[in-house]
Symmetry: C2
Subunit: 357 residues, 2 copies
């Protein structure tokens, strides 16, 4: 068994994994609705929201499509600053939406003024961005963007990909006025892959009702109808709901402030390690991710070789993603990862790099 | 814990459930591809095919949409003889396809001549039907339809919803020339819900390449590209793949002939029980399902009351589906259900009905 230090899938706690084995139940039985309601209450606490939290049996890729199809009317402004925000923009296009793009160099974060300028054209009724761009380790400043949107563009929907931040970084959805916010479970949630959460505001639901060409599986009006009964419209992955039941309880027991502090402090530790070891941070100063650290491979180490040795030592190591593969590598510090495990891993990484040069 | 005698989700074996807890792995790691390849080989044996078997992280509802979007060109002829075949036809329409419908009374099976007549119009390049209509317990005769299609309409794609038959009824996909055949895992596969299999012929893939408006998550060209690398395009539900690894092994150990014989013989036993207890079969003679039996409630028993008592006795009992709810009830005999368990359940059902009248 390898310990995962890749930015997802991440390690799953044994008790959480064990909860996946609970007996199946009928998804129209009252026991199911009780389970769903319990999980839903916990999710709302963790996401600081009274909005609906839809549960989708799909990868986050499916959530991208759901958000693009349901919440974009006349046009969507996508912030593209890495591989995943880029793919989301492509999906909006494939779904037939009018797409505008703010294209930033990878590693950079968007500034509210850049969004403001483009929204002033009046072409867009939605803005879409990655809260935590997993390929580059850049964390957007939601507060700044939220203030600007609330002040100047109250009718523009605020759509957030929080795939690698949700449950690892505090996102006060209601306070920020985020209209759609989604993640899959195999990142900071510390659960197995195969399931997604999508938190949706009333304004966003209204937008959905006006849209055509939503397809069937991702038409969120249908989810809304069943959500009111504490159900999903189609048979969901029941093991993942059991997993969520156990894991949301654990998260609330850890305490949300403790959890987010743990992620912040591991991130700081990782960044210090990077600088002390003669590398540079790939992400822009002031916008470093709190769940993963993207390291510019300025020392030009042989990442493939390091990964191979680390595997022999029991670790799955990341080699960078997309066009910055091998030019960067990423250190994941989210979900079940603790300060202790991170330190141990970074010590091993340090030794491995030394030995392989 | 309730023993499930509903037509899905069905009971999961404890060893299979336990396999879901295996540690996560990276879905781009070589270990993953080995796992995927092993499962794929087993699936091909169970489905008597050399075709691709795509693995989709979604409910069967998603597979409906994938098939309609990818494999229908000028038009699709849907056989509608129950709630699920009806919904599939609706999905084809929602996806913007030209849809023709052969509408049959619920409980009836389609005859090849009915399909032939409509295909002669030349309006359709695909025919879609439920192999085993879960709402009515009707099993289509694939052999007859296949012969007719091969003889007269070799260019029409043969699309099969086998949600509640796959792995419980022998489907020789290659021999029958089935172009698309799909199921979710929580029925005769005896696995937890949340994952779907979709077996696709080369002809069907060609059709997919010609289609527009496939969306993103269900564009099967992308699945095909990754399938060649023993991967899925998006992070899949890894627990379900572990489950498939264990369960496909168990199925092959049971032996395919034994497995299908077991289902056939349980079905026969259930039908005898129905007639001996003064009920009638809802499904047309000669087309009775081998995985579930749909019972016409000719004795007008109080199904709600019976279900309540059975629950106290540890069983989840079905009350019929859609417009025939309470007019019928269904006895599920698939997946992990054995002759012994079925007999015990039917004895309890019999006593419960007697006591409640």
């Amino acid at each position: 068994m390898l310990e995962l230090f890749i930015p997802g899938p991440t390690n799953v706690d044994q008790n959480v994994a064990q909860s996946l084995t609970k007996p199946m139940t009928g998804h129209r039985a009252p026991e199911f609705s009780e389970l769903f309601a319990e999980v839903d209450q916990n999710l709302k606490k963790i996401l600081y929201t009274q909005n609906r939290v839809f549960q989708l049996t799909c990868a986050a890729t499916g959530a991208w499509e759901a958000v693009s199809r349901n919440f974009v009317g006349k046009g969507v402004l996508h912030v593209v600053n890495g591989a995943f925000s880029q793919r989301w923009a492509e999906i909006s296009e494939i779904c037939g939406k009018e797409v505008g793009v703010i294209e930033l160099p990878w590693g950079k974060a968007v500034k509210p003024e850049q969004i403001r300028e483009r929204l002033l054209t009046g072409k867009f009724d939605a803005v879409a961005l990655a809260h935590n761009e997993t390929s580059t380790g850049v964390l957007a400043n939601l507060e700044e963007i939220s203030s600007m949107l609330k002040r100047e563009f109250p009718d523009v929907l605020f759509l957030i990909d929080s795939v690698s931040s949700m449950a690892g970084v505090k996102i006060e959805i209601d306070k920020l006025g985020v209209d759609a916010c989604f993640a899959s479970l195999q990142k900071a949630w510390g659960l197995p892959s195969g399931y997604a959460l999508l938190c949706v505001s009333e304004n966003a639901m209204e937008r959905s009702r006006e849209q055509k060409n939503k397809g069937y599986y991702f038409d969120l009006e249908v989810y809304d109808k069943f959500y009111k009964k504490n159900q999903t419209p189609y048979t969901p992955s029941i093991p993942h709901i059991y997993g969520l039941q156990t894991q949301t309880k654990r998260i609330l027991e850890e305490g949300l402030d403790n959890r987010f502090k743990r992620h912040k402090s591991m991130a700081k530790f990782a960044r210090n390690w990077v600088l002390e070891n003669g590398f540079e941070l790939f992400s822009e100063e002031g916008y470093h991710s709190e769940t993963l650290t993207c390291v510019a491979n300025t020392r030009e180490i042989d990442i493939e070789k390091v990964a191979k040795v680390l595997k022999e030592k029991g670790y799955l190591f990341d080699k960078g993603y997309g066009k910055i593969k091998f030019k960067t590598f990423r250190i994941s510090h989210m979900g079940e990862t603790t300060q202790e495990r991170l330190e141990k891993f970074l010590k091993t990484l340090e030794e491995t790099i030394k030995a392989s040069n």
